[in-house]
C-alpha cells in the first residue's frame, strides 16, 4: 500500500515559506501605495496568487502528493477562473 506521506516535511521548510509569505505581504502593501491604475488590482492579485501557491504547494503538501490530487486542484482553479471570465463576457461588453 503506497503512502507518500512517509516523507516528513522539516520544520525549517515551513519557517522559510512563512518568511517568504510575510515578505510578499509586505511587498503587496508597499506596491499598492503606488497608484498603477488598472495594474494595481492585477499586481495585488498576482502577489496573492503567488502566496496562495506557496500555501497550496508547501503547507497543504501538494508538492508531496500524488499527481491526481495536484491535477484536481489545478482543474478546479481553472474552472473557477473560466467561469469568472465568461461572466465578464456580459459585463465587459455591455
Amino acid at each position: 500500500m503506497e503512502n507518500e506521506k512517509h516523507h516528513i516535511v522539516p520544520y525549517r521548510l515551513y519557517a522559510i515559506i512563512l518568511l517568504i509569505l510575510l515578505s510578499l505581504t509586505f511587498l503587496s502593501i508597499e506596491i499598492t501605495r503606488i497608484n498603477l491604475g488598472a495594474f494595481t488590482v492585477a499586481g495585488a492579485l498576482l502577489l496573492a496568487s503567488i502566496k496562495s501557491s506557496l500555501v497550496l504547494v508547501y503547507f497543504m503538501h501538494l508538492k508531496f502528493d500524488k499527481a491526481y490530487i495536484q491535477i484536481m486542484v489545478g482543474m478546479v482553479i481553472l474552472l473557477f477562473i473560466a467561469v469568472v471570465l465568461v461572466t465578464f463576457f456580459d459585463y465587459y461588453f455591455r
Binding site: M1, E2, N3, K5, I8, V9, P10, Y11, Y14, A15, I17, L18, L21, L22, T25, S28, I29, T32, T40, V41, A44, L45, L47, A48, K51, S52, V55, L56, Y58, F59, M60, H61, D65, K66, I69, M72, V73, V76, I77, F80, V83, V84, T87, F88, Y91, Y92
Partner: protein
C-alpha cells in the same frame, strides 16, 4: 493505475484526504461566488470602491494577515511534530494556532465594532443616505465576506479542539494522523481565503 486493497477497511488516510480536498473545493466555490460578485461590482464601481476602502484600517488588516500566515505555519509544523512522534510539541503548536485564531477573531470584533459605531453596517440608513451606491455595495460585500470567513474561523476552532482532544487521548498519532492533517488542510483554506480578501478590501486605496 493502482488498485488498492485496504488491509484495514476502516482507515483509509488517502481516501479521507481526498474527501477533505473535495470539501475544500466546495468552500473555494462558495467564496468564489462572492468573489464573482465582488469583481463585477468592483468593475462597475471602481472609484467608489477605492473611496470606501479608505475607511478600512490597513494596519489591522495586515496584522490579521500576519496572524493567519503564522498560524498556517504552526499547524503545518504540528503535522511534522506528530509524525516525529513529538506529542508535546504537536500540542503546543496546535494550541498556538488556536490562540492566533482567537486573536484574529478578537481583532475582527473590534474592527467591526468601530464600523458599527460610525454607522457602517448592513442595511444602515446612514450609509444609504450619505454614501454612493458603490460604497454601499463595497461595505455590504465587506461584511458578508469577512463575516462568512469569520464563521469559518469559528468552525476551524472547533475542529482544532477535536484534534487537540484526540491527540491528548492518543487516538490521533503518527500512524493515524488523518484528523490532524485534514484539520490542517481546512485551516490553510481559511488562510487562503484571507490571502485574497486582504488585498481586495484593504489594499485598493
Amino acid at each position: 493505475m493502482s488498485q488498492v486493497i485496504h488491509h484495514d477497511e476502516h482507515y483509509d488516510p488517502e481516501g479521507s484526504k481526498i474527501g477533505m480536498w473535495l470539501f475544500i473545493f466546495t468552500e473555494l466555490l462558495l467564496f468564489g461566488g462572492l468573489f464573482i460578485v465582488y469583481s463585477v461590482y468592483r468593475y462597475l464601481n471602481a472609484d467608489a470602491f477605492h473611496l470606501a476602502a479608505e475607511e478600512l484600517n490597513t494596519t489591522v488588516g495586515a496584522l490579521n494577515t500576519v496572524i493567519l500566515l503564522v498560524s498556517s505555519m504552526t499547524i503545518a509544523m504540528s503535522t511534522t511534530a506528530l509524525q516525529k512522534k513529538q506529542k508535546a510539541t504537536t500540542i503546543v503548536l496546535l494550541e498556538i494556532t488556536f490562540m492566533l485564531a482567537l486573536i484574529f477573531l478578537i481583532n475582527k470584533y473590534f474592527e467591526w465594532g468601530v464600523k458599527f459605531d460610525h454607522g457602517i453596517f448592513p442595511g444602515s440608513e446612514f450609509m444609504k443616505a450619505e454614501m454612493s451606491q458603490g460604497e454601499v455595495l463595497f461595505f455590504g460585500l465587506y461584511f458578508v465576506m469577512t463575516g462568512l470567513h469569520a464563521l469559518h474561523i469559528v468552525a476551524g476552532l472547533v475542529i482544532m479542539g477535536f484534534a487537540l482532544a484526540r491527540i491528548q487521548k492518543g487516538t490521533v498519532h503518527a500512524d493515524r494522523p488523518s484528523l490532524l492533517e485534514n484539520a490542517g488542510l481546512y485551516w490553510h483554506l481559511v488562510d487562503l481565503i484571507w490571502i485574497f480578501l486582504f488585498p481586495l478590501f484593504y489594499l485598493i486605496t
